[in-house]
Amino acid sequence: MFETLTDKLQGAFDKLARKGRLNEKDVDEGLREVRIALLEADVNFKVVKEFIAKVRERAVGAEVMRSLTPAQQMRKIVYEELIALLGKPAKIDLSGQPPHVVMLIGLQGSGKTTTAAKLGLHLRKQGQRPLLVAADIRRPAAVQQLEILGKELDLAVHSEGTSVAPPQICANALRRAKESAYGVVIVDTQGRLHVDEQLMVELEQMKGQAAPSEILLVADAMTGQDAVSVAQEFHQHVGLTGLILTKMDGDARGGAALSMRSVTGVPIKFLGVGEKPGDLEGFYPDRLASRILGMGDPLTLVEKAQEVFDPEQALKMEEKLRTASFTLEDFMEQLRQVKKMGPLSQIMDMIPGLSGLAGQIPEGETDRQLVKIEAMISSMTPAERHDPGVIGGSRKRRIADGSGTTVQEVNQLLGQFRQVQKMMRQVSRGRTPDLLSMFR
């Protein structure tokens, strides 16, 4: 079973004294697990090596704080160092005289065109007047793609077809921006390999024409070990000012971010988190650190929950919890809302301590369960939903028949519901419920 780093560290330290200083042997034991976690997250081998050395230096001889176990102390040091390495979030530089030029560069398929549109929308929301520039003349239909996105979002697009050279397009776009008072010019460039000398020279020429205040490397969060050479090459040729990590809505751990940060030293400015134009987020080092270490991402979970849960309903639910009048109907309502957040296995992955557990449950099984539960509750009368106590043998048979399930499954549901009620009472008394028991 995949364990979270905290569990692994705990395991490694269980044999050791509970307090005192971290000695060399303890630290090395723990760092072995950290190394594996980072490599599994696609952090580059060399970056991992450097990172481990740094943590080791700090950890050996460190005093274990009174309130922590050695494992927790170790985890704390790793986490802090990781956050330090990931750096602070930074905004788009809009200082100085407009128009400000933002160039988006990167490998093929990293998400530059989509990001250009997202960034345009983001800057407009901040009161800017952006101009998108279609400077990718090589990928078939890339110009149309940006034009369509611009039209959909009502953002101005500067395009000159596919026969004008990109550096010239940049120069023309800049002139247009000055004449028509566009404050920000976002240049979508062609995807190119970092080892393609000819195209890297073209990029340098574009830089010369456009005098950008930002050159952002758009990189796929799923990138593997090669992220270091990609970032390094682009940085050496044109001097990056920041990174945008795309496709963060998948299940990649995103270790490439750490690799690219450590070879370029430039800040991470945004994360792409979906296909919709609004799916561009700021970067939070603590969240990304948790994700890279495989410790779950509770904050994203909270945000996801906030998206689907109606605050008014949440208040009502809270009231019900306090008065312990939580019924099967409320239970179903909650399940429906949870379902809106996505497949249960994904949600579980975001909960620290549960991540990894999801992998043990057959794909789609939890979601099939939810469908069954909904069917069973729908087959109950309002009175039954309100007070499951009245459900006897013949009612169970009727519910099973009505929902296409078995009496055993109805029994299971009623049992689970009693569990939840018990948990709710614990919560209302201020105790942490045993979440795991719900899924067993």
Binding site: I36, L39, E40, A41, D42, N44, F45, L107, Q108, G109, S110, G111, T114, I137, R138, R139, P140, A141, A142, Q144, Q145, E147, I148, L149, E152, T162, L193, H194, V195, Q198, D220, M222, T223, G224, Q225, D226, A227, S229, V230, T246, K247, D249, G250, D251, A252, R253, G255, A256, E275, G342, P343, Q346, E363, D367
Partner: protein, 303 residues
């Protein structure tokens, strides 16, 4: 559009050079000491083979090194190569033997290189004397159908496309009918890029697969997952989800012309039994080749 064709040899030589530059020490040593094993591990991990697969593999070779009489680093490299080849050999490919329409469904995450890959596959099949038709099943991404049409014009083939935002299932339905009416023998179906964790989009993909199956029980004969060679460990997760949804039976490894090695394919072959079928190595339609395990493995180590 400017085609800048690069042949496979060239791109592989780039792979070799960068590898050699990094691990030159491994071959200059004559003794089999701890450093050799460490460098071997480093080489494989940096090729995205994955830490678990790497450690297991190196340990296995190490365990047998005494019995097998492995005394020099090059003996060890050879033994590792044999094991890697065995992993790739485990995953078998569907052979094209039957008559009639051959349907290829192409799937993958956003930006993996599906549309370019399809153009290359179309050219590949044309070279084998087949009549190819394309289906613009990506009705979501802006200008995706246009992109396919540009390629089709270059290749002199037709595209079946509907309005943006329309049902991809309907596109596929029409495309199969059109293939039969126009006597095409190879239909390549493009689909919208989707992250494997997006539940609803994966359901949509299942539906496209069902629509094809309903019309032709033995189709799609090939379901190819297009994988970006620069992808790290997440590729295994991608392959797992896509296989579960639409029974992927081959990988198209795209963008192997950079410095990335695509080492994750070993885990995909060994854990999921999915073979690597094609390799894409550039931006030109001709930059495609059938996967050659020996060259791929040698590329990881070549001096």
């Amino acid at each position: 559009m400017i085609g800048r064709g690069k042949n496979i040899e060239q791109s592989l030589s780039r792979t070799r050079r960068s590898f050699f530059g990094r691990i030159g020490g491994l071959f200059s040593q004559t003794d089999l000491d701890e450093r050799v094993w460490e460098e071997l591990e480093e080489l494989l991990i940096q090729a995205d083979v994955g830490v678990t697969t790497t450690v297991d593999l190196v340990q296995a070779v190490r365990d047998e090194s005494g019995a097998q009489g492995l005394r020099t680093p090059s003996h060890v490299v050879e033994a590792v190569q044999q094991r890697l080849l065995a992993v790739l050999g485990n995953a078998s490919s569907p052979g094209r033997s039957q008559e009639g329409l051959w349907v290829i469904l192409v799937v993958g995450v956003n930006g993996s290189g599906k549309t370019t890959g399809i153009a290359k596959l179309a050219k590949y099949h044309q070279r084998h004397g087949r009549r190819v038709l394309l289906a613009a099943g990506d009705t979501f991404r802006a200008a995706a159908a246009d992109q396919l049409k540009v390629w089709a014009r270059m290749l002199g083939t037709d595209v079946v496309a509907h309005q943006p935002g329309s049902d991809p299932g309907a596109v596929v339905y029409d495309a199969i009918k059109a293939s039969q009416a126009r006597d095409a023998d190879t239909l390549i179906v493009d689909t919208a890029g989707r992250l494997h964790t997006q539940y609803n989009l994966m359901q949509e993909l299942r539906k496209i697969h069902r629509v094809i199956k309903k019309q032709m029980a033995d189709a799609p004969q090939e379901t190819l997952l297009v994988l970006d060679a620069t992808t790290g460990q997440n590729a295994l997760s991608q392959a797992r989800y896509f296989k579960d949804a639409v029974d992927v039976n081959g990988v198209f490894l795209a963008k192997l012309d950079g410095t990335a090695k695509g080492g994750i394919v070993f885990a995909i072959a060994s854990e999921l039994g999915i073979p690597i079928r094609y390799v894409g190595t550039g931006e030109d339609v001709d930059d495609v080749a059938e996967f050659d395990p020996e060259r791929f493995v040698a590329g990881l180590f070549a001096e």
